[in-house]
Subunit: 345 residues, 2 copies
């Protein structure tokens, strides 16, 4: 439970009959958003710092920093020390979005112009570089004894995220991508940062090594499920709720789990039809999406993918189970996982 008084954040965790009232996901998001809106950057050079203010003010789900806060809260009541590292994780995540948008030539992010569109490519490269360095500075804003532990997790993860982006870019020109390669890519690009966020929060909270490792696995499995859901929502999401146009991945020939797995399962005739849809640039958008969805339905890819999503959520739950903390302290993290499980956007 969070109350904000005179811009002082006060945390209170009540213990009553051995039931704890923990920070919810919404509480954590409030803490994170408050901390981000209070960030002070230098005024000069404005070309560097204005884009950073801009991308951080775009919002988003703030899932990763909330995970830092909530994981810390799992092990102790006072989460103050986790706030700056949480902000560091969010700055890092936004740095990767900023540079990915340059590499992918994306015009919009969250319905607003991307940094390289609003300013220019050079400013986007350099303000991204600054964010990468800043994130490391925020991560280490904690007690001295755990700095090295946090940085080892963070640096290792940061490298893997870059590797994931490279694998993803390679897929664009790589004809055949198998399921194993695809899962490795999303593990690097998405899952390890969920994992690291939860592990970093746990270390700050004072978790034992094995608890921190189980929290890492909890996050990794959540991240795998989250990314597979993303692929599903592109095709089967509710356009009113999803927030993006349906079928964008199909239109862009993106190698999603649905496509990779369908290519693996399809017999020759359907395979050839898919290859025609991928290669013939003249097929109108709507027609291409319709034809691909028909194949997906015939292969039953929605069910297959959903089973994979369920598998990872189950694994995540089991990892959280193994953490040696009073069950009632885990409830908000379970609710968060459930919320992700039911997500439609």
């Amino acid at each position: 439970m969070v109350s904000i008084l005179n811009s002082q954040i006060i945390f209170v965790t009540f213990a009553k009959h051995n039931r704890y009232i923990m920070l919810t996901l919404d509480d954590s998001r409030e803490v994170v958003n408050k901390a981000i809106s209070n960030l002070k950057f230098k005024s000069q050079p404005k070309e560097l710092y204005n884009p950073i203010r801009y991308i951080l003010s775009m919002g988003g789900k703030r899932l990763r920093p909330c995970m830092v806060i909530m994981a810390c809260n799992l092990f102790r009541d006072d989460v103050e020390e986790a706030i700056r590292p949480a902000v560091g994780i969010e700055i890092f995540h936004n740095f990767t979005l900023l540079h990915d948008d340059i590499m992918d030539n994306s015009i919009l992010r969250r319905n607003k112009p991307t940094v390289h569109t609003k300013w220019d490519r050079n400013i986007a490269i350099l303000s991204g570089d600054v964010m990468s360095i800043l994130s490391s500075s925020y991560i280490i804003s904690c007690r001295k004894e755990i700095v090295l532990d946090l940085l080892r997790v963070f640096n290792q993860t940061a490298l893997e995220v870059c590797e994931g982006q490279q694998f993803d870019m390679n897929f664009e020109t790589q004809f055949q991508v198998d399921e194993r390669e695809y899962l490795k890519m999303i593990e690097c690009k998405t899952a390890v940062l969920f994992a690291a966020s939860l592990k970093i929060g746990s270390i700050i909270g004072g978790a034992s090594g094995s608890d921190a490792d189980n929290m890492y696995l909890f996050g990794k499995n959540l991240g795998m499920a989250f990314q597979l859901q993303d692929d599903l929502l592109d095709v089967y999401g509710d356009p009113e709720v999803f927030g993006k146009r349906i079928g964008e991945d199909i239109e862009a020939n993106k190698k999603t789990y649905l496509l990779v797995k369908t290519l693996e399962l399809a017999r020759e005739k359907r395979r050839n039809e898919i290859i025609r849809l991928l290669n013939d640039g003249k097929i109108p958008r709507k027609e291409k999406i319709h034809a691909m969805v028909q194949i997906y339905d015939a292969i039953n890819i929605r069910k297959i993918t959903q089973e994979k999503v369920d598998f990872y959520f189950k694994e995540a739950g089991e990892s959280l189970e193994r953490v040696r903390v009073n069950d009632s302290r885990k409830e908000e993290l379970k609710k968060m996982a459930d919320k992700l499980n039911r997500r439609e956007r």
Copy 2:
């Protein structure tokens, strides 16, 4: 004195009649080059790690990592612990070169194709990002107690280097740049990394706070002098020795100290002539360089700049003087400064 036996590096500092035999600049470079050539990177994704191997194998003066080693050696005989942080500094420096080359559209670096030319822009962005993260990992490869001290110096410096690059890019479109702004830019872009290298080496060596700060100042002043020399060499260097074409800065309208100061000192007629040379894109290269050098000579800019260089070398020497270490231990650092003072490339 360094001997390399079966790829084991053994350091021996002799003390005889209170005279120490310290690592020379060449010794240190040998240590650094050996460590860089022994670096092991992952094999996959090769698109990320091959460019890193490539840019690190290009060579260069290795001044910054040598400064880490020599500064450590100033305070203690065994420099083993400084090697990985020194490599971290060199990786960071090469990261900035890699991204700067994209931003500046440079085709060649050390007479070889730049990474974005040899591979492509996206690979250059992403392998630069990886280098930035790697550099931080190498910096913290030292005893636990000093990790936070090193990272504070390093992160602060890394931010300033990015700010310097942004100021430099701003100068391209900024009509008027004054001497103060110019000096601030080179302080950020070049001098602080010299300073941080010497401070980081000193901290590893066990220096006191004030000694480490004086080493920082020693490096900062060396860096200022070094960058001003760069501007001088572009115009007055010996083309046989310099290694780059003479007059490239003039050709590119680069706002060097020579140009900034000349614009400040010149009366209206000469100012107008300079502005014509800067704006008229049709003037042949040779003619433009010749005309600009004539103005420089008339203003006596070589002497004015050289006096500024001398000033910073003098300041550097005084900072080193203040470090509370037996004078004879300082000799190799003094020789290094002298060598930079006399540099022709």
